[in-house]
Symmetry: C2
Subunit: 131 residues, 2 copies
DNA sequence: CCGTATCCTACGGGATACTG
DNA sequence: CAGTATCCCGTAGGATACGG
């Protein structure tokens, strides 16, 4: 897989943040790197949810960040937002096919993290002890 | 693959940042989510480099962040730091086997990003136009 | 119920200057 | 050459209050 070179090239020239969406990797990283995106993707993977449901399942997220993260996911086409015209209104969020595809692409990373977690913690302890 | 549920559980209870290293996913995400880690991993994948070489290959990174990111990678056991006792000293960084493993685990995500980049950009344009 | 608006703080990260 | 030290700014993100 030699296309890493092209990725590197693009990420590098994108270092100073050219325009939005110049480099695909940075694009996806900027979305996933924040505090709640991945967690929401995981949650939505097991079925569509309403705003309030998500809120209850994630007691630690602020309303502001839940709204914002969901809006970003929607904007990037990873989730859909459906407003049901009831009184009071209810809004349902669901993962798009592309969102599910992302989830699958995340699988190996997940497994790597699980598999190497002990190694990482040990490495950290060694490093910190040496200091 | 039902272990997503356990991941979600741990990420959720880790929402308020319990202790460092509680959740493996957040651990890896916190490292990869920053501005330069992935780029450095990609670079080091094609061979060990000295500090100055990396610096020249990444004109946009500040010396401060290069040092710090390399230190974090080293601390997490993803890279090694070897000091050659010359005058003046030279320091070489290389990816560990675990670093390479991470690189491979990143492959699918990379391919997803490339494959869906156009879709994402289109989704964004649609979303922003609707606003 | 589902947001938006405002305020405030912590931290990531750049620029620059200095050391072994 | 390979860092450390300082300063400074922008943004992520929490708390709170209000609106449709």
């Amino acid at each position: 897989m030699g296309d890493i070179d092209t990725v590197v090239a693009r990420m590098r020239e994108d270092g100073g943040r050219v325009e939005e969406g110049a480099c695909p990797i940075r694009d996806v990283l900027d979305q996933l790197g924040d505090k709640w995106s991945m967690l929401l993707i995981f949650l939505l993977a097991s079925g569509a949810r309403r705003f309030g449901e998500l809120r209850r399942e994630l007691p630690d997220i602020s309303q502001r960040m839940l709204t914002q993260t969901l809006r970003d996911l929607t904007r990037n086409g990873l989730a859909t937002r459906t407003v049901h015209p009831t009184r009071p209104p209810s809004v349902e969020y669901a993962l798009t096919p592309q969102g599910f595809a992302l989830l699958e692409a995340l699988g190996p990373l997940l497994r790597w993290a699980e598999a190497h977690h002990d190694y990482i913690r040990a490495a950290r302890r060694r490093f910190d002890a040496a200091a």
